[in-house]
Amino acid sequence: MMNSSPSSWRRIPERYCLIGTSCETCKANYFPPRLICPKCRRKGKMVDKQYSGIGKVYSYSLVNVPPSGFEIEAPYVLALIELEEGPHLTAQVVDCEEKDVSIGAPVRMVFRKIQESGPHGLIHYGFKFVLSK
């Protein structure tokens, strides 16, 4: 219902390739992308910004009671990731157990399946993170 084909497709650059925006006026980096820099508003100039996908864990939680659509994935680690370029984003940390994760742990982006719109629906892909060795 929430993730129709057009709504999923128009997010492909951001979700597949981690493209956000940066403001040339104040140098602030944003992810997810924004049309307007909240600090500079009309004085700002937004340009696309490719993020490296390298970052560290800012906070995390093991989700045991999932929302609809995530039943088969639970339990999973949900985290706030601090990208090396500054912005924070929300993503799952995978291929590990909760006890392996800690605040400050280095992580890198991987491309994964995020969810399905039902058994016959679209499969939605995007970024997750793994602990860097």
């Binding site: 993730n3 906070s59 939680s61 989700v63 799952q92 995020i114 969810q115």
Partner: protein, 387 residues
């Protein structure tokens, strides 16, 4: 601007009211509030209603038309207000502004949510709409998990412990056991909380507000006319609201809510009071960590000391400051759209001296604090008994 008073309040029992529909709930609370104000429906000039997710939870939109219809209030203007879990407070503030400005004299403000007709997963998805659908929910976030991220970080930055968080639940269940409207009228121990199932670590079932059906209604009137309806008008001496970035990941800090701090500062200035003048407050404890952050952000203790203040018992009934005498969202229940109006009802009862077994002695000024989502909307009201 005119001064505004609350002249009547009414609640339904909060809980899993399987035999009550959405319209039954709000009508019941409305009748109680009108009776409390000694008013008839014919006296009412306008209606504002707060509901977060009726479209997702019961498939019904256009809810204030429904409410005006079923309360027999046609043809007055009836307007819906939505700000996630702060819908009730924003509806109240909208009604307050209508009376203060002189546009309407007698306004009914309602908050209502019917949450138990769908599964827990569907409720979690619907409530998730209070966050960022494309960038939080899409990744698998739920509301408990967003507050869990705040809790984990608060523990990291300030040394807050799971036991301190659990103490919030123990206190709020104690208060709820003294409130006949509450969902959980039973006391619990620290062990109950610590041994309950983990929902989203470190938050356990007893750190979470429950899924609740319920409605709350308040009637507002100009203060100068209020004595026609009640011997104890309670004046709204401050009404402040602030907004912040929708998603948690876009905020500078996740261990404080800037919108709370800004709304509180404005409210204290409007009412010309300081945090130490407040003896009773209803704060937004959708999760135990939220109450800890709220008492810090509202200035009742220093940043980082909310856990300790709670564990020391300084927020218990009739201590330094009585926090969440109704039982809060945790013990009384959290029918999201109704919560902000319920907080007002509780403070009105406290200031009138009608809070029965949970009465705070000598309460003259009270505060309500209601948060939408993970902190993108925050509303603070300060109420005062007029003598």
């Amino acid at each position: 601007m005119r001064r505004v008073a609350v002249v009547g309040v009414g609640l339904t029992k909060f809980g899993e009211n399987w035999d009550h529909s959405f319209r039954d709930l709000i009508t019941e609370a409305g009748i109680r509030a009108l009776a409390d104000a000694n008013m008839s429906g014919a006296d009412i000039d306008a209606l504002y209603g707060g509901t977060m997710a009726a479209g997702r939870l019961i498939g019904q939109e256009h809810i204030t038309a429904l409410i005006a219809d079923y309360m027999g209030l046609n043809p007055i203007p009836a307007t819906r207000v939505e700000a996630a879990c702060a819908s009730g407070s924003v509806a109240l503030r909208t009604g307050y502004m209508a009376v203060a400005s002189g546009i309407h004299d007698h306004v009914v403000v309602g908050g209502v949510e019917k949450m138990t007709d769908v599964s827990t997963g569907e409720v979690a998805s619907a409530l998730g709409g209070a966050g960022d659908q494309e960038w939080e929910l899409f990744m698998g976030a739920t509301f408990p998990s967003l507050y869990a991220l705040m809790a984990k970080r608060h523990m990291h930055e300030y040394g807050t412990t799971e036991e301190q968080m659990a103490q919030v639940a123990v206190k709020n269940h104690y208060n709820a056991a003294r409130n006949k409207y509450a969902q959980y009228q039973k006391e619990i121990t620290l062990e109950t909380v610590m041994k309950s199932k983990v929902v989203s670590s470190p938050l356990k079932v007893f750190d979470c507000s429950p899924i609740t059906d319920g409605a709350a209604v308040a009637i507002l009137a100009p203060l100068e006319q209020a004595r026609k309806y009640t011997d104890t008008p309670i004046e709204i001496v401050a009404s402040a609201q602030a907004s912040d970035k929708l998603a948690l990941h876009s905020r500078e800090s996740i261990t404080r809510l800037d919108a709370t701090m800004i709304a509180a500062k404005k409210a204290y200035a409007q009412a010309n009071v300081e945090p130490k003048d407040i003896k009773v407050a209803e704060v937004h404890d959708c999760f135990t960590i939220a109450e800890i952050m709220a008492i810090e952000d509202l200035g009742f203790c220093r940043k980082g000391e909310g856990g300790k203040m709670t564990a020391d018992g300084a927020t218990a009934l009739n201590s330094k400051i009585s926090i969440n005498t109704s039982g809060g969202l945790k013990g009384c229940g959290h029918p999201v759209g109704a919560t902000g109006v319920k907080q007002i009802a509780e403070i009105v009862w406290q200031l009138r001296g009608q809070a029965e077994k949970r009465q705070v002695t000598g309460a003259e000024i009270g505060l309500t604090h209601n948060v939408g989502g993970s902190g993108a909307t925050c509303v603070v009201h300060i109420l005062k008994r007029t003598n």
